[in-house]
Amino acid sequence: MTTKTKNTTKKSSTLNSSLLNVTAAAIKTTVENGEKWQDLTKKLIKKSEPVRKMQMNMVFNTATAVKNQVNLGKERMVDLVGYDNAVVGKVVKLAKENPVGKKVIHFAGGIIEKVSENPVIKKVERTSGDLKKMGIVKFNEVKEDVLGQAQKILNKGEELIEDAKAPKKTTKQIKTKGAAKVTQVRKTTKAKATTAKKKTASKVAIVKATAQTAVKSIKTDAADKIANIKETGKKNVAVIKKETKKEIETSAKDDLKIIHGIGPKLEMIFNKNNINTFAELAKADKTKIETILEEAGPMFKNINTSDWQKQAEVGAEEGVEALVKWVARYRTA
């Protein structure tokens, strides 16, 4: 019994599983077939589009043609009857009663109804309504934004006015701001000053070093130059001394021959005894002159020397020209 029940349970389970598989496959195939049907409907809708377009065009073309015809008829009627409203009304009545007119009006009414009932037109109306709603919503959004911005600007302006009205606050604020700025500036200036000091110190050190080297070189050059100048100066001084001595000697010597009674030999004798100028001769004593003449030889013993000292005084005091004049006067006298 147990084996039988086991077999039946096994069989039922396998059957169940196979049935499940089959149902899954069936569902799958139905879904696939449904998808295929959906695709077909899509295709057919697309294919029906030109037909619908054509239908629409036909309807609108006929409507416009009827409208034109009615307008033309109206114009012609006005032409026929004139502009009298009563007559026009009568004519319109006649036209309406006319079977052709009746047909036309009926056809036009039918077209209008058809057009109004057309789903495409309804859809267009709906979309236009939606667009209108969207536009209104967008406009309201933009309006709110603009109003918000304007409110912000107004608030800012009010704040500025309040600030302007309260000067104490502003001065305080300004002071605090100024103090902050001053501290900042001080800090920056300190930093700048330190950097500048460092830079200047380095520059000064460089300049000092260069100056020291320059001074050293200048000193050495100057010492050399001074030594050279000293040497040259000494040489020059010696030369100048010699020249001056010579010049003194030459300049100190007066032409004693100008004096009446003194010839070149006597001049030589006086020069040997250190009497070279008129002043020296004038200062010399008579005895000294006599002794010099005695020593010179017997030739000069009896020479008259009385006027020599006077002549020498004139030459020393008034010059050579005065002496020459004096001698000329002395000879003529």
Binding site: N21, V51, M54, G73
Partner: protein, 85 residues
């Protein structure tokens, strides 16, 4: 042996199901094709019919326009006669 028999049983059920489903899909495909063809031909026919109706409407409108002109011409003539009288 037992496994073999189980296999055979399973395949038979599934085979039948698969066969049925295959047939159903085939039938579906056939129906789809025929419907597509029918619809395309109907669309073509309607297009043609619409063209014809459009032509007819146009011609009818033309006729009505000429009729209107004729009526108004007659009315004009009558008016002229009345005015002359």
């Amino acid at each position: 042996m037992a496994t073999k028999t189980r296999k055979i049983k399973q395949t038979t059920i599934e085979k039948v199901a698969h066969g049925v489903l295959g047939l159903a899909t085939k039938a579906n495909g056939f129906a789809l094709n025929t419907i597509e063809k029918a619809f395309t031909t109907s669309f073509k026919m309607t297009e043609k019919g619409l063209g014809a109706t459009n032509m007819l409407i146009k011609k009818g409108l033309e006729i009505s326009a000429t009729q209107q002109d004729l009526v108004f011409d007659v009315l004009k003539g009558i008016k002229k006669k009345i005015v002359k009288k």
